[in-house]
């Protein structure tokens, strides 16, 4: 809980004044190297164990995804995709560890109406503060990656915290610590970018011409990044968006029109007041009254 008191915050939901942001830490990032992932789900287990989550037993939906989707109690999920190439007669098994991307420009935070329910730390972690969450679901509407889940138990929103509690005391996230193949690494964002690019270069040398780092600029970059063998077609990986950004509908909804509308509503009342003072009321004439 050190993070909560350390006040190294860059953005808070539904807040128009500056956040306590004098302390500026180093930006961190988690890098997930898809080419090294064996789909063992140890990261899912470590996440549940560290965060004291125990999801309900689900049902087998015919694929390896287990559970079948992210939930309020499953903050990370291996998504398995079989990609067939009819021309070559090959099949490829793509595995992506899904979860919050910790966007530099978080759509959830932009959409949230409750002050301080979503905060972005100076290190890049976007965290939900459930005690301030009112359960409206606007974060679901705002997220370009379909990550937040609303609990049926308490109507609060939950997602990956990037183990903000661990990171604040100098530990790596639980999934990083447990990954047996080293597919998940954690460190300074700039180090992770250069490491990711290096890994992509190695994959290219091995014949994966379209390998690359997934750090989408449309959301200002992310603090969870992927090394993908097919970075040109991220959609192959269970629908990872190619060029994600906050939806224009959400930007319009939460953009400059809102304060203008507040001014318009206040202006209508003030305008009415001055109209009355200038023009005066519409009244029956005295003689009309008498004759009536």
């Amino acid at each position: 809980m050190t993070m909560q008191s350390s006040l190294d915050i860059v953005a808070r939901s539904a807040t128009t004044t500056p956040s306590p942001s004098v302390r500026q830490g180093v930006e961190v990032a988690k890098l997930i190297d898809e080419s090294k992932c064996i789909g063992c789900k140890a990261c899912q287990v470590a996440c549940s164990q560290w965060n004291e989550l125990s999801d309900d037993i689900g049902t087998n939906v015919g694929v390896y995804d287990n559970p079948s989707d992210l939930t309020d109690k499953s903050w990370t999920l291996m998504r398995f995709t079989e990609v067939e190439d009819a021309a070559k007669g090959t099949m490829e098994w793509l595995i992506r560890k899904d979860g919050c991307m910790h966007c530099a420009d978080p759509g959830c935070l932009k959409a949230c109406p409750s002050p301080g329910a979503i905060i972005q730390y100076a290190n890049g972690i976007v965290d939900f503060k459930q005690e301030n969450c009112i359960g409206c679901g606007n974060c679901v509407t705002g997220c370009p990656f379909d990550i937040p889940r609303i609990s049926k138990k308490d109507n609060k929103a939950y997602k990956c915290t990037l183990c903000s509690d661990r990171v604040s005391v100098g530990l790596e996230p639980a999934c990083v610590k447990t990954c047996p193949t080293g597919a998940i690494v954690f460190g300074k964002k700039e180090d992770m970018v250069s490491y990711g690019n290096k890994r992509a270069g190695e994959l290219k040398e091995r014949g994966f011409q379209n390998a690359g780092l997934y750090n989408p600029a449309g959301v200002g970059g992310t603090h969870v990044m992927y090394v993908l063998k097919h970075a040109d077609t991220p959609e192959k990986y269970a629908g990872l968006p190619n060029d994600p950004s906050i939806s224009p509908l959400v930007s319009l909804w939460k953009g400059t029109l809102k304060p203008l509308a507040v001014f318009a509503m206040i202006g209508a009342v003030v305008g009415g007041f001055f109209h009355y003072m200038k023009v005066g009321p519409v009244e029956e004439k005295e003689d009309e009254k008498e004759s009536a």
Binding site: P113, I134, N138, V140, N155, L249, V250, Y276, P281, V282
Partner: protein
């Protein structure tokens, strides 16, 4: 001080219907404005905090819509726009400057009142339909693109409704003798002759 020549404008049921809508408008409106912009979040305190506002707002809104349906059934025929309304609209600017002399005679409702009626009808319908799209407690499964359209149109029609109500309330304050139509049900003949001469004729012909 009821005199015999006062004109009945609204019966008891219509008035109670109107005030039920008015109260629900403030309840749903203030709880909704709490989420409209951070500067208005303090309004959630009136309803017991953010979570309670989120819980209550949609029920208040649905209730307001249902009450408005009663008003709609009662009043829609008298609010159908007719060709003379165009003339009234063209001269409305002069009237706002305080020059009421040139206004064409109107019946029970003038063009401005009719526009208010239809703006309220339209915005409430859009508020209901779009509100359902992101009423997470009951309808968590609408696709995210539908929720995005929903929140945008919901906020837009809420602004339209609030502005319309401000105009509606101001008109009642501005034109003296109007509010009693809704508080007591009757208006004076002088008021009717001046503001709704055709309706006055219709009422006195009986």
């Amino acid at each position: 001080m009821k005199t015999s020549n006062e004109l009945q404008r609204y019966d008891d049921n219509t008035r109670m219907n109107h005030w039920a809508i008015a109260l629900l408008f403030f309840a749903a409106g203030l709880s909704g404005l709490a989420f409209f912009h951070p500067s208005l979040f303090f309004l959630s305190g009136l309803f017991g905090g953010g979570t309670w506002s989120r819980i209550l707002h949609p029920y208040l809104g649905v209730l307001m819509f249902l009450c408005f349906l009663g008003m709609y059934v009662r009043l829609w025929r008298e609010n159908v726009i007719n060709p003379q309304d165009k003339d009234w609209m063209a001269k409305a600017g002069e009237m706002l400057k305080g020059n009421k002399a040139g206004m064409p005679p109107v019946g029970k409702y003038n063009a401005g009142q009719k526009v208010v009626f239809w703006l309220m009808t339209g915005s409430l319908l859009v508020l209901l339909l779009t509100g359902i799209l992101f009423w997470h407690a009951w309808f968590p499964d609408f696709p995210i693109w539908a929720r995005r359209i929903g929140v945008l149109l919901h906020a837009f029609s809420a602004v339209v409704l609030v502005l319309t109500v401000i105009v509606h309330v101001y008109a009642a304050i501005w034109v003296k003798g109007t509010t009693r139509a809704m508080t007591r049900g009757t208006v004076s003949p002088g008021w009717a002759k001046m503001n709704h001469p055709l309706w006055y004729e219709e009422m006195t012909r009986k």
